[in-house]
């Protein structure tokens, strides 16, 4: 589904990704861990199409299409979803109106009829249950005045509404208490249908107790330096990153 080859990228003159390779097949959950500054969020940003990130070398293909050629909106329409580490507050745009516009633009790109208000409400109601969303969260402005937990739940709610093929979760667990973490993880797990793939970027093994990955990768200095299964995450939790750094430097 997603193939990243030899990806090099920089932001503001600083090179962050240095030859990253990753292959994600349908239905797989890949966790990406790594110390601060290793390039985890840069990878998410490059995949979602943030303009301030410049790709210097390498390729990213998504279902056979050159992803790097697409605008952020075309990536979203093609089925990529980024759950933001810091969801943006947008005063004056209601959550419902925003999502209706987004869902209908994505549907239009697939040649589907846009939802009318009644159908949209029905779909929304069903998906709200996934993340235990309050009805009033949909009438409020996007993320405005939301708590950290509400913002992350709103990300997963949007994911459920947009039904992407590949979801990239950028430190979705940061700033969440145990209850919010459980709600968010339950939402994600409900969306695991054997076809949808996930890239879960996280600092902490804790999240991976809830969202159990098929693969765990360690990102260091802009490259994946070690890959394994969920046991690798446990080992990292126990031993930290120093032993991996030593292995790489050796």
């Amino acid at each position: 589904m997603l193939t990243i080859k030899n990806l090099h990228a920089r932001v503001e003159e600083k090179q962050i990704l240095n030859g990253l390779n990753l292959d994600v097949k349908p239905g797989e959950v890949h966790a990406i861990m790594g110390p601060n500054g290793s390039g985890k969020s840069t990878l998410a940003s490059v995949l979602a199409g943030r303009e301030e990130y410049e790709v210097l070398d390498g390729t990213v293909t998504f279902n056979g299409v050159d992803l790097l050629e697409l605008s952020p909106e075309d990536r979203a329409r093609a089925g990529i979803f980024l759950a933001f580490q810091y969801p943006v507050e947008i005063p004056g745009v209601s959550n419902a109106n925003f999502l209706k516009t987004a869902v209908n633009e994505v549907r239009k790109s697939k040649g589907l009829e846009p939802y009318d208000s009644k159908d949209f409400l029905a779909v929304m109601k069903e998906k709200m249950k996934l993340v235990e969303m309050d009805k009033q969260m949909t009438t409020r402005s996007v993320n405005e005045g939301f708590s950290g937990g509400e913002k992350k739940r709103n990300e997963i709610f949007q994911m459920a509404m947009l039904e992407p093929q590949l979801a990239i979760m950028d430190e979705t667990d940061s700033g969440l208490d145990i209850d919010a973490l459980r709600i968010v993880s339950n939402g994600v797990n409900a969306l695991r249908d054997g076809k949808r793939s996930f890239i879960v970027i996280t600092h902490y093994q804790r999240l991976l107790d809830y969202i159990v990955p098929d693969f765990v990768h360690v990102l260091y200095k802009g490259r994946i330096v070690k890959s394994g299964t969920k046991e690798l995450a446990l080992e990292l939790e126990e031993k930290g990153y120093d032993w991996i750094k030593e292995e790489v430097e050796a």
């Binding site: 979602a48 952020p72 909106e73 979203a76 933001f84 943006v88 005063p91 994505v106 949007q158």
Partner: protein, 408 residues
């Protein structure tokens, strides 16, 4: 008496002349660009028909309607109905009304205002409304101006006087339209508004004239004890537009809300000059003006707040926020607070910037195209001004017009 006021206005205008950009108050508004060499003060011939009004009925059809074409009252197109006690009509037919005589030229002072002096000095037409004590007027009054003049040497003078007696309430819409894009000229408007004890006046000004026409207006209110004045000024069209809005809180416990929105493109210029004069204690004023400026257009905001020595326990808030859509768009904003009382709460703030790039990316990352995303954010930006328009029909119409302009 009125003859004397007019005479004084002539003298004042002779003394003041038209302002130049060297005058600090007119620094960004070059009237020379719009003044004809030989101004014509008589109206262009009438040609407006009832069907032309359909797109102008922005507050719906269930209104008391007063139609003016090039400043001349069109009784045949108007419908004020019979409203018990309420005196309403063109000032030309109400000059002998005692309340009119008692108030005309007494609210506004033209000593330093050349366009007010000019308006007072020349023949003018407009609406006089006298709301008697305790009368609550349920239907909106719509004062509808249509510009059908295609000769650029016309200066149209419009004069309105509104007096709301004790505990009266009235809602007025003042709108400006053009028959077509070629209509032009300069419209010079003066509004005098008296809000007596515990009365409430709402005024919404919608500037939808052609982009070839210009307007200079001056609204002066005087508020008495416990009264409320709420106003929203929406400028979407017009070449050069100057809105002067002076609020005088002349007794205790008055409330005033001032909202403004300007969405400009091409070479439009809109200059909002406001003054909130807190003369007495325990009054509240809140002001929010927002602008979205594209093309080579420019906006000006000059907001003065005076808190006089006696005006203790004043609450006065002011905010001006702008988005510039292009490199050639400009905004000049200047808040001016002069506070002479010591126990007051006053805040002001002004921001001018681009659209929030983070918000834009967030919307695009959800599949919303860049143009739609920009429009959505701009519409959200202007919403908290338009949301203050109380009439559903008027608010929705102006929202649609604002959205249409933001989508261009």
């Amino acid at each position: 008496m009125i003859a004397e006021i007019k005479k004084e206005a002539v003298e004042t205008f002779k003394r003041l002349g038209f302002p130049s950009t060297k005058n600090e108050e007119w620094k960004y508004f070059n009237v020379q660009q719009i003044l004809p060499d030989q101004p014509v003060f008589s109206a262009a011939p009438a040609r407006l028909s009832a069907s032309d009004l359909t797109p102008c009925m922005i507050a719906g059809n269930n209104v008391h309607l007063l139609v003016f074409e090039n400043g001349i009252y069109r009784a045949d197109l108007s419908s004020t109905g019979a409203i018990e006690n309420l005196v309403i009509g063109p000032i030309s037919s109400l000059k002998e009304n005692q309340t009119f005589k008692n108030n005309f030229g007494k609210v506004v002072s033209f000593g330093t205002e050349p366009f007010v002096a000019l308006n007072t000095a020349v023949d003018h037409e407009g609406v006089f409304i006298h709301v008697p004590a305790n009368a609550v007027i349920g239907k909106t009054i719509h004062i509808l101006h249509v510009n059908t003049n295609e000769q650029s040497d016309h200066i149209t003078s419009i004069r309105n006087l509104i007096v709301a007696e004790k505990q009266a309430a009235i809602s007025i819409v003042e709108s400006y339209h053009a028959l077509n894009k070629q209509c032009n000229g300069l419209i010079n408007v003066v509004n005098e508004i008296v809000v007596h004890e515990s009365a409430r006046v709402e005024l919404c000004k919608a500037q939808l004239d052609s982009d070839a026409a210009s307007q200079i207006n001056f609204t002066q209110t005087i508020q008495e004890k416990n009264s409320t004045f709420d106003t929203v000024t929406v400028t979407l069209n017009g070449r050069l537009t100057r809105n002067n809005l002076h609020i005088k809180l002349n007794d205790t416990n008055c409330t005033a809300h001032l909202f403004g929105l300007y969405i400009l493109d091409g070479e439009q210029l809109t200059d909002n000059h406001t003054l909130v004069d807190h003369a007495m204690p325990n009054c509240f004023s809140n002001e929010l003006y927002k602008g979205v400026i594209g093309g080579k257009a420019s906006g000006v905001f000059n907001g003065k707040i005076f808190v006089r020595k006696d005006a203790q326990k004043t609450n006065a808030y002011q905010s001006n926020k702008n988005i510039l859509l292009s490199d050639d768009a400009t905004m000049n904003t200047k808040p001016q607070l002069e506070i002479f009382a010591d126990d007051v709460k006053c805040t002001h703030g002004a921001t001018t910037g681009q659209l929030d790039e983070e918000a834009l990316f967030y919307l695009r990352a959800r599949g919303i195209g860049e143009k739609s995303a920009r429009t959505l954010l701009n519409i959200a930006f202007v919403a908290d001004v338009l949301n203050n328009i109380k009439s559903d029909e008027l608010r929705e119409t102006l929202q649609q017009k604002a959205e249409a302009k933001l989508m261009q």
